[in-house]
Subunit: 305 residues, 2 copies
């Protein structure tokens, strides 16, 4: 009966068989995940047709590039932020501007500019906005030469690079703060948006009875010498989903204030000649702990190590 065994013996073979050392951490985590899934299948008496439907869904998910989107909807992205916040607290690290999830739509290599930038191409309908502020350390000192990557959705809730209808790097810029740590950019206030319909993510969310809406937000990746790189988002106030984000990404302290009817004086270099909406927001960066955490990298660049 050497090839006949029960699920316990099968699990032992799956998790203990080896012909070389492998990576102990990958082995341990895989063992845990497989053990949990075996138990789930047994406890729920998952039928083969259910299992294979799930595998097909996973294939579609991977092929669609949405694996890094569904993680947000299932709370994993926020979980990682919570755990990092807790680790910082235990280490007694001063907290800067709260982290918020990166999402799957950051693209490196956006056009660079100094101090100020214009994100919109002038053809986008919506409310003209200037966001401006200072990048500081946790003591409030301005960080000269800080790097600010900013990216947000267009009027349809889509991001350039992932949306072929948009120009390359539309609504994406990398700004270098001036000597006083100041930045400013002009754009159009983005709307909230929902997960793509008819997608693997939408399929699961329908079965879960959940909505897939995200409140309006603007993404940032900010770094400066000696400071820990900060990935965050600010939220536009007034959005229906601001406290009910599909991705659980809204954070206290990251909902901006809109100052309508700001005077154009001093904003001519951004092509502004009438009243506009102003957002003032300073970012505070924590101290870097090691060289790695200071690097200006998106999550996948960081993972590729």
């Amino acid at each position: 009966m050497k090839n006949e065994f029960n699920s316990e013996e099968l699990l032992r073979r799956v998790t203990e068989t080896k012909v070389s050392t492998g990576n102990e951490r990958v082995r341990s985590i895989t063992k845990r995940v497989v053990t949990d899934l075996f138990k789930t299948i047994e406890d729920f008496q998952v039928k083969p047709e259910e299992f294979w439907a799930a595998v097909q869904w996973l294939s579609r998910l991977g092929a669609s590039g949405q694996a890094g989107l569904i993680t947000a909807g299932l709370g994993f992205d926020r979980l990682l932020d919570i755990l990092e916040d807790e680790a910082d607290k235990r280490a007694g690290m001063a907290s800067g501007t709260p982290r918020a999830i990166e999402g799957p739509l950051y693209i490196a290599g956006a056009p660079k500019s100094f101090y100020e930038a214009r994100l919109d191409n002038g053809k986008m309908p919506g409310q003209l906005v200037v966001m401006e502020g200072v990048i500081r350390d946790t003591d409030g000192n301005p960080l000269s030469g800080a790097l600010i990557d900013v990216w947000h959705a267009n009027e349809n809730g889509h991001y350039s690079h992932f949306d072929p209808s948009q120009e390359e790097y539309n609504l994406r810029r990398q700004i270098t703060a001036d000597q006083q740590g100041r930045y400013r950019f002009r754009s159009i206030l983005p709307p909230g948006y929902a997960i793509p319909p008819n997608s693997p993510t939408a399929e699961l969310f329908e079965l879960l009875g959940r909505h897939g809406n995200r409140p309006a937000h603007i993404h940032f990746l900010i770094s400066a010498a000696g400071r820990r790189a900060l990935t965050t988002q600010v939220n536009i106030p007034g959005d229906t989903y601001i406290d009910d984000d599909f991705a659980f990404a809204t954070r206290d302290g990251l909902v901006v204030t809109l100052e309508t009817g700001a005077s154009p004086a001093g904003y001519e270099s951004l092509g502004i000649d009438g009243p506009f909406t102003r957002i003032r927001f300073d970012f505070k960066l924590q101290e870097a702990v090691n060289g790695e955490d200071a690097k200006h990298l998106g999550r996948y660049e960081r993972a590729a190590g």
Copy 2:
């Protein structure tokens, strides 16, 4: 502090938020899987860069079409068979020929023939074989008109349809058994093979320190009126990995015997004019429990309902 919370409250929001009923089973199983993964991430203090490396791997896995291959390597396919065997035993169902995993390489629509078929195209190097036998019920009665789908790898361990170098449906046939339930086919004994190198599956297996070899085998999907469709494999004896299959699919009672030097008399219709290797193997099909389990369907067809 309405948007600041710990991982426990996050998990509650992820698993309990809903705007419509959804599917209770999908909700429950998802809740279990997400809860387990949250706990794994916390227990192992999974770092963001580790998490995102895993998500990228999952994306590559999905995109490569290997989600249904890694399940075999992690034991899930065999687990489903073990659970079905146990359910049959509890229900007092007579066991027929043991099930074995389907694997990800079944393709419907193979060329049909009556009683006998030639699978090889005459250009394939290797040991000429005829496999023959009778499809029976669990009382030993022959099942006239049973349908036998047979498929196996070529001399390089690759399958037609997935390997563009092969003709369509090479080494795949659907045979209808004759009135005595008999079938026979001619082919070349396939070799064992390994998971594709430089693939997401190979990547994980290297980290796990596991080999990715499968012993030589031939796949079957067999059905007959009133009988439960049987998905199985037979193993060729003598393979190094016969008791150490990457997919844990070898089963007692499914290792065939090779009769070398069989006489060609009576095998002329298969183009045989000299000694060959014969495999004699009868399959026994269990009674069908409902209409569904009698259907002649691959696992993904079954999952699609």
